[in-house]
């Protein structure tokens, strides 16, 4: 049976732009049908913004690639209508174990608290992730939403003008010309769009190689993340074992810098290495093997006039911490509602500069964390190795050293505390729900809070009544919660106060909050949140 990544899921077909006598202009063209491009396309189409996605391929990601999806992206996927199949198919895990040499140093549990719809993490092959996004695209198409995915459409030239972007796209039938008011570049770390525009991409290269292998085996390892520092089967290097659906296991083996890549990738050498790790008695098949090096870097700006960069095209991190695809989904989440308001003429174009501010802040946080993890995993000097080994040694017996063990700081939601879209907070409400934070999920009114935050601005009234002020062009939904019925929710949204009002953006981030009703303040906060102040 063909694997899902071998089937053309969006094969080439002729499109109307190829036969049009004049050059057509679309509101939004997205380059790249990977996780970020598809998420952005779904988000825009759900809001009735016509969107065309072009990709030089016609199928989902070859190999598992990104496999770890965090709670926040899963919540975003719920809003995009495709979280459920991912969580159902994915492997849910909470426990991580760290080994040093031949001993377990400690274990951690990521599940900190109850009362969230989604788990801390699921593992799911990127090809499934993209396939479920494609399923959602097909559903939207069937509903008549304005979404179109064009396979075997390769951008070969681009012109970034004041009020539009002009593209030449190559296809099996030759080149055609098309224009877009806005272009979202989600075409990956090597982004051809970024290169064609001659834009910078600077940062730090880590001199290391990792062998990544997807292994199909019947093994009774538990559903946990296992990380080894300097194990007997891979001396002076690290190793990672992680479970994916369908009995597929992800194995990462650090190889060091000075290696012969072609030699290491030969199946007989990979199998020899895996047997050293797994022992001779476990039988397995190799599904996919790759060797990767990585860089931690970002573009200086993610918005360049009419071109907006998202995901790996805009920033790259080391894989430790699962901050790649997870942050790309958050880019798209941040961008799409802003782009809609600008396209609808409700918000000024400068609102898109806050995409830059907020997501560069996110990218820097991810780069910092993943660089630190990499420095711990791959010590860059003799002294840093000594400290690293000292931490691992002490961590086995002493709790104090454990927070310093760094095998990857796993992706947590980004909090835009300093965003200019926030209204300064003068309440004593809980800090976890402060302006800039994504709304924390909680059971409420016999459902989940985040399921009710489905894409428009919301006003959340807790224990207080009020009118929703009308602000030019902004659709504001009201959610009312009566106190005394939802203790977990009240813990997160009231704390020691009796009443609260929250203004929540379409991307579920909190923009402002109060403990009493004042229509003018709410109106001003909305204007601020759409960049009109």
């Amino acid at each position: 049976m063909a694997k899902i990544f071998e089937i053309p899921l969006y094969p080439y077909t002729r499109n109307p732009d190829q036969d049009s006598p004049k050059t057509n202009r679309h509101p939004v063209i997205i380059v790249g049908a990977g996780p970020v491009g598809l998420a952005a396309a779904i988000d825009l189409a759900q809001q009735d913004i016509p969107v065309v996605v072009v990709d030089d391929n016609d199928r989902v990601s070859f190999g598992s690639r990104a496999i770890c999806f965090a709670k926040r992206p899963l919540e975003i996927l719920d809003r995009l209508g495709c979280g459920e199949p991912m969580v159902e198919k994915g492997v849910t895990w909470n426990i991580g174990k760290v080994f040093f040499d031949d001993r377990q140093t400690y274990e951690f549990n990521l599940l900190a608290e109850d009362g969230h719809k989604r788990p801390a993490f699921i593992n799911l092959q990127q090809y499934y992730f993209e396939a479920y996004l494609m399923d959602r695209v097909r559903v939207l198409e069937a509903e008549g939403k304005p979404i179109e995915i064009r396979g075997k459409n390769k951008v070969v030239s681009i012109e970034n003008n004041d009020d539009h972007v002009s593209l030449q796209i190559d296809t099996p039938d030759g080149v055609y010309q098309v224009e877009a008011e806005w272009l979202i570049s989600c075409d990956g770390a090597g982004s051809p769009v970024r290169q064609m525009l001659g834009l910078d991409f600077v940062g730090r290269v880590f001199e290391d190689n990792f062998l990544i292998a997807d292994v199909v085996m019947d093994a009774d390892f538990p559903t946990e993340r296992w990380f080894w520092f300097n194990p007997p089967f891979n001396r002076d290097q690290s190793a990672l074992l992680h479970k994916q659906p369908d009995g597929v296991w992800r194995i990462d083996l650090q190889l060091g810098w000075d290696i012969d890549k072609a030699e290491e990738k030969k199946p007989e050498n990979v199998i020899r290495r895996l047997k050293q790790m797994l022992g001779d008695e476990i039988s397995f098949d190799l599904e996919w093997v790759s060797i990767y090096t990585f860089q931690c870097r970002r573009m200086e700006k993610f918005r360049h006039n009419r071109v907006l960069f998202a995901g790996d095209a805009a920033h790259q991190v080391s894989p430790f911490g699962a901050r790649g695809a997870n942050s790309g989904i958050q880019d798209s989440d941040n961008l799409c509602w802003k782009l809609k308001l600008v396209l609808d003429g409700i918000a000024p174009e400068t609102l898109l500069d806050t995409y830059d501010d907020e997501r560069i802040y996110g990218a820097d946080e991810n780069i910092l964390n993943s660089s630190r993890s990499t420095d711990f995993i791959t010590p860059k000097s003799a002294v840093s190795r000594q400290f690293r080994d000292a931490v691992l040694h002490l961590a086995e017996k002493h709790e104090f050293a454990r927070p310093m063990v760094n095998s990857g700081r796993l992706s947590v939601p980004c909090i835009y505390s300093e965003s200019r879209l926030n209204t300064p907070d003068s309440t004593k409400l809980p800090t976890s729900t402060r302006p800039g934070a994504p709304a924390v999920d909680a059971p409420v009114n016999e459902g989940w809070l985040l399921d009710q935050l489905n894409g428009d601005f919301k006003l959340l009234f807790v224990g207080i009544n009020g009118e929703s002020p009308s602000v030019a062009g902004i659709h504001l939904d009201v959610i009312e919660v009566q106190p005394g019925q939802n203790p977990v929710f009240e813990d997160r949204y009231l704390g020691d106060e009796d009443t609260a009002i929250y203004l929540i953006r379409p991307d579920q981030h909190i923009a402002a909050r109060w403990t009493s009703y004042d229509e003018t303040e709410i109106r001003n906060a909305i204007l601020r949140a759409i960049g009109q102040e």
């Binding site: 964390n369 630190r372 420095d375 711990f376 000097s381 003799a382 002294v383 840093s384 400290f387 931490v391 002490l394 017996k397 002493h398 709790e399 104090f400 454990r402 927070p403 310093m404 760094n406 700081r409």
Partner: protein, 60 residues
């Protein structure tokens, strides 16, 4: 009593500052720097019993 539970806020930030201090130093310079740092910290702790317990912990 020697504290053996986590006591440093922002452990990752501390760890990275600790290593940054060694940037560009030779191995001997790094050892000397570590020795000076231990003496500075020991003086801050002061308590002889705590210091003795810390030494036993590190030796273990």
């Amino acid at each position: 009593m020697l504290i053996t539970t986590p006591n440093i806020h922002d452990a990752d930030g501390f760890y990275s500052e600790l290593l940054d201090m060694h940037d560009g130093l030779s191995e001997n310079e790094s050892k000397a720097l570590n020795a000076r740092l231990i003496l500075v910290l020991a003086n801050h702790i002061g308590d002889r019993e705590v210091l003795a317990e810390a030494m036993r912990t590190a030796l273990d």
